[in-house]
Amino acid sequence: MDLNASLIISNILNPPVLFFFLGMTAVFVRSDLEIPAPVPKLLSLYLLFAIGFKGGVELIKSGITQEVVLTLLAAISMACIVPIYTFFILKLKLDNYDAAAIAATYGSISAVTFITASAFLTELGIDFDGYMVAALALMESPAIIVGLILVNLFTTDGKRDFSWSEVLQEAFLNSSVFLLVGSLLIGVLTGEHGWQVMEPFAQGMFYGVLTFFLLDMGLVAARRIKDLQKTGIFLIAFAILIPIFNAGIGLLIARFIGMPQGNALLFAVLCASASYIAVPAAMRMTVPEANPSLYVSTALAVTFPFNIIVGIPLYLYGIELLWR
């Protein structure tokens, strides 16, 4: 556990994570610090663009190998399987609607957690491949579909005749997925040449923008914490244990298909993280019976901070044990 603790500390002593704490502190001491709208939106557009573009440039360098295909298959599988077993765990305590919505939330991913993990790897000097961004993009949407299928199978209220075309549109063309995939493709098309002109913007600013964005996420997450009183101890425990469990499964798969360590960490983080933007929006539309405060608060105020602070170094420690 020694190594683990030192990893946690070296993670915590990163500017992005510390600014996340600073944001939370601002809320707790009732400072009037805030990042005015629409700045957080702009920062998240930038982060998606930068990670997507860089991923594309690196994907074209590495090419589409068997390793790439295996990784992407693993990603899609996890995005489909996680919501299913999560659903049955949640059904122990919650009704079908809430269980399905939370399951979809945890089956999907949090891009910011992924980006924070990639910054952590860069700082430790551990390599990872550009195609992990493609895995990120592929894992965002399937859980929405799986969640809806679960609701349809396990509830019998007949009149749920929402339009699937609209749901698919929300799932695959929401702005995050669209910008990420678009930037990835443009990265693939322009390659090294495009990267050179974009580098000062797409790379130089990256760490700083992430820091500012996490400052805002700290403010947002802390404001959500009072909602946790209503969610109850079961969901709070769930929101900490299921990421560890999902990351564990992710690591085993990663080991099995022989991913390099950097990729394995990112994959584990994708499995462990939960969506607090795209999936909640889709669930609110399609499963209005579920209570949004349950799925948003757990994902945003528990799982997100947990992954950012403890999860990322913990999963890396797991890798050091497993890959030995």
Binding site: A37, E170, M285, V296
Partner: protein
């Protein structure tokens, strides 16, 4: 000056396109949209840092009101959102640079 109805709609920005289409179909072709509106409604809300509300204002002839309500009400049921109607008076203005 003549009497018009003010329609105020607060809704999630994802719905915006559909609401404007709904207004248009009901014959209300003019509107103003304020973005980045924070809010708290009856339902526990998504985080508004991420998914912000819009505030839509449209002034229309009183006789269009019924169609508007019929078009908008089902949209608000989806993501939540609120719609309010009140009375107002329009200052008619005919564009004419010469009169400046």
């Amino acid at each position: 000056m003549h009497i018009v109805k003010r329609i105020e709609i607060i809704a999630n920005s994802i719905e915006l396109g559909k609401i404007l289409d709904g207004l248009d179909k009901a014959g209300v072709h003019s509107h103003a949209v304020i973005r980045n509106v924070a809010g708290k409604g009856l339902r526990e809300d998504l985080d508004m840092t991420m998914l912000d509300n819009v505030y839509i204002i449209a002034f229309c002839m009183p006789e269009l009101l019924k169609t508007v309500v019929e078009n908008i009400r089902p949209l608000l049921n989806k993501f939540g959102g609120a719609c309010y109607i009140s009375d107002s008076m329009e200052i008619r203005s005919v564009r004419c640079v010469a009169s400046l």
